[in-house]
């Protein structure tokens, strides 16, 4: 089988702050990482590759420096890498990004499985993966935490409230992955990073994938972002230490003072 994994380079959310005056993300000096859900999706795909000897191609869209996540994927074991990089893509929303990724998948050729992360930690929309499936007219199973392949049967564990359901599908199918609770992201060794330089890597422009300009970038994006703002900070919780009775007495005292309880 041929697998495509779609990944996104995102700012490390633990270090991103929002400028309260402009509402913009302050990205200067913030390290970029592979979106953690995509990292899990990649590892899930690479496990299947190891077990069944499938071919894995890793695809990303972004500025030239996003090559980093593609190369990391190849260092971890993907066979080939593609970066969609073109000024025409700049400012694309989830619809437009799905369109470009779908075009890239078509150019790659016959694909049996597409792995995406459930969502990216910068935008948190969870729309791009399903969008790609829709653009390709491909069935999709979302919120998977585990995927197995048995012959031509794809068996996915899809998370639902209070547990998971097992969904079977036939390829081609697109899967979006959540993170398994025991998941530990792998990082490549120095040797495999060096070896990844010798794997086939392509940078494709909009015209390389036959994408129409009217569907790309800000112009081709139906989503309009009104404004981004940090949620109002909640007041700090008061913590009491001591025995249960002492704590209860303090809490009662406060509740009375705040008029939640009557004397």
């Amino acid at each position: 089988m041929n697998i495509v994994v779609c990944v996104k380079q995102v700012p490390d959310s633990t270090e991103v702050k929002i400028n309260p005056e402009t509402g913009h993300l302050i990205r200067a000096g913030v390290p970029s990482i592979i979106n953690p859900y995509d990292h899990f999706a990649l590892q899930s795909a690479l496990e299947l590759k190891k077990k069944h000897n499938f071919k894995v191609t890793i695809v990303s869209m972004g500025p030239p420096q996003a090559k980093s996540v593609v190369q990391m994927g190849m260092a971890l074991g993907a066979d080939e890498g593609v970066l969609l990089s073109d000024m025409a893509f700049a400012g694309s929303d989830t619809w437009s990004t799905s369109y470009a990724l779908a075009k890239a998948v078509r150019k790659i050729g016959k694909i049996d499985l597409i792995f995406c992360g459930m969502q990216a930690i910068d935008g948190d929309t969870a729309q791009t993966g399903p969008g790609v499936a829709q653009q390709l007219g491909m069935p999709q199973v979302t919120f998977c935490e585990k995927v197995d392949v048995d012959g031509r049967r794809i068996i996915a564990h899809k998370q639902i409230d209070g547990g998971y359901e097992v969904v079977e599908a036939r390829p081609p199918v697109l899967l979006t992955m959540i993170m398994h609770k025991d998941y530990v992201p792998r990082y490549p060794s120095f040797l495999s990073i060096n070896a990844s330089l010798k794997k086939p890597f392509h940078i494709w422009s909009a015209s390389d994938i036959g994408a129409e300009a009217q569907f790309l970038g800000l112009k081709g994006s139906p989503t309009q972002v009104d404004r981004i703002y940090p949620p109002p900070q909640r007041e700090k919780a008061a913590m009491f230490t001591g025995s249960g009775n002492e704590g209860m007495a303090k809490i009662l005292e406060i509740m009375k003072a705040e008029h939640f309880l009557e004397d």
Binding site: G29, Q71, M72, Y187, S189, F190, L191, I193, N194
Partner: protein, 546 residues
């Protein structure tokens, strides 16, 4: 070897950072430091080519390595030092131990040994220092005598003692410098060879996670094929050929330790309220303990990168540059760590916070791979020759170059750096005229002044570059302010100390006071406080309180 592309290098740094986060948390480091224990299993894991393979940086690709260049190795060394300088030293020892092979080994020797080091994750030690021979290796006593069979040299019997050998007690193989009949020569000695033994692990002030031991060689038989380069007498040349390069690595250690300690202090200063406000808002604190140290280390970083890129472009030797890089970074790193303890007050003095350990660790960077005093001499000697050869023009030409830069980029401290270089040229010339370099104190002090003045020169140039190095975490406004602060301090110190030095040694100093142009240097100090305010703000923005 040329360096790798930025993406590959950053992926390696990410992998190392992630490994350390998971496997070497501070609590473990603290415990090992307390117990004076070297984590051999962790080192082995870091060398495991399927896990990290950090030692592969030094090994060419054709022998199973990744062909890292000096810039790559500097970046990894800085990060290793930020993790723990003891562990960093365990990696560095293999880098160093591999060097004689890389430099002087025959193709067959490299084929055999480098491949083994790469694939079997071998820990290596570099056995040069002896109880009575440190930087002056000519005094070494370890002897290698011929063992002749059928009229041919079949091998050597090596006898002697080595001291302060990093990885000495845990290495699988050692490169040992010994006096052969044809002169000093490097030999590959395996730990399992009969007559070879390591002494106890030293109880050290710092880098306690690094195994340091003396080695005893009692009539150890080494086959002739283990003589590196298969030619006797090349040992000292092979050792000296890599000083530029190995000193960049230790410079990166000083840099990494100093910055790590300071960044702890910068974060702390934003949380600690004193007298109604955070310490980070108080000039008496920031402009003494944080800003000058950070500025000096950024100057050291720029100089390390300048030297690393020169080496990666194929220039050889660079002993003086390597010495300047290491001397500046290690002395300023040591000072920064000391001030970081002060900045953390009582917390800094306890073992609960990493700064106390960093301060003990970083001191070694002023000692190993050439003590600061040996480096002062090396720097002086290298540049004194240039001063003589150019008939005093060496630093004047560099100053002229900065004048041009200042015309285009007036905000990078180029004018102050140029004043510092002209003052230096005047002082060197005065020393020549009055034959003052007969005083060792004069020569060593000149070495120190040269280091700061040249670092200022390079910092101004680097701060004017259209695109900054991947390592610079500040915007142009912030980094240029740092270059200005560095340049002013270097110029003032060069002139004031140089003048005092000459006055202290000569019968008369002629018109040196005019020649160093102290008045112009004083005028150039204008704006210093405003720049320090700006840098203080940039530090706070870059290293936010957690």
């Amino acid at each position: 070897m040329a360096s790798m592309d930025t993406i590959s290098r950053n992926l390696m740094l990410d992998s190392l950072r992630e490994y350390a986060k998971r496997r070497i948390p501070f609590d473990l480091i603290r415990e090992l430091d307390e117990k004076n224990e070297c984590p051999t299993a962790i080192l082995k894991e870091m060398y495991d080519k399927d896990s990290l393979g950090v030692h592969l940086l030094m090994i060419p690709e054709e022998y199973g390595g990744v062909s890292g260049g000096t810039f790559d190795i500097y970046r990894i060394c800085e990060l290793l030092a930020r993790i723990d300088l003891g562990i960093a030293t365990g990696v560095f020892a293999t880098f160093l131990g591999t060097d004689p092979l890389n430099q002087g080994g025959t193709t067959e020797q490299k084929e055999k040994w480098l491949k083994r080091i790469a694939s079997e994750n071998l820990l290596v030690a570099y056995g040069a220092t002896e109880p009575d021979a440190g930087s002056d290796l000519v005094n070494m006593r370890t002897r290698a005598e011929h063992v002749v069979k059928n009229g041919k040299i079949a091998g050597y019997r090596i006898t002697g003692n080595k001291q302060w050998i990093s990885n000495g007690g845990i290495a699988d193989m050692h490169t040992i410098l010994a006096m052969a009949p044809g002169g000093p020569s490097w030999f590959i000695v395996e730990t399992k060879m009969e007559g070879f033994s390591a002494n106890k692990h030293e109880d050290k002030h710092g880098i306690r996670l690094s195994n340091t031991a003396g080695l005893s060689l009692d009539n150890v038989y080494v086959p002739a094929e283990n003589l590196i380069g298969l030619e006797e007498g090349k040992g000292l040349l092979q050792a000296q050929a890599v000083f530029g390069y190995t000193r960049v690595m230790v410079a990166a250690f000083g840099l990494g330790c100093g910055l790590e300690a300071l960044e702890h202090a910068i974060r702390y200063s934003q949380q600690r309220i004193q007298g109604g406000g955070p310490l980070s808002e108080k000039q008496g604190y920031t402009h003494k303990l944080l800003v000058p140290n950070y500025v000096r280390l950024e100057g050291a970083r720029a100089y390390i990168e300048y030297t690393a890129l020169k080496l990666d472009s194929g220039e050889h030797g660079l002993q003086t540059e390597g010495a300047i890089a290491k001397y500046g970074a290690s002395e300023w790193g040591n000072k920064a760590a000391d001030d970081a303890i002060q900045a953390l007050g009582g917390y800094g003095f306890t073992k609960d916070f990493p700064v106390e350990k960093i301060k003990r660790d970083v001191k070694i960077t002023c000692i190993y791979e050439g003590t600061s005093e040996v480096l002062e001499m090396t720097i002086y000697r290298g540049r004194w020759q240039e001063h003589l050869k150019s008939r005093g023009r060496y630093y004047l030409d560099m100053a002229d170059q900065l004048d041009q830069l200042h015309a285009n980029e007036p905000k990078v401290g180029a004018h102050a750096s140029a004043l510092g270089l002209r003052a230096l040229a005047a002082i060197l010339e005065e020393c020549r005229v009055h034959k003052l370099t007969r005083h060792q104190h004069v020569t060593f002090t000149l070495g120190r002044l040269i280091c700061a003045a040249e670092t200022a020169w390079n910092f101004s140039i680097a701060a004017a570059a259209p695109k900054y190095s991947e390592t610079i975490r500040f915007d142009r406004e912030g980094w240029q302010a740092m270059a200005r602060i560095f340049a002013r301090e270097a110029a003032l110190n060069t002139a004031a100390e140089g003048l005092a030095l000459v006055l202290g040694a000569a019968d008369s100093a002629g018109n040196l006071a005019d020649a160093v142009n102290m008045e112009a240097i004083q005028i150039e100090q204008k704006g210093m406080i405003a720049d320090m305010d700006l840098v203080s703000l940039k530090l706070k923005q870059t290293f936010k309180a957690k």
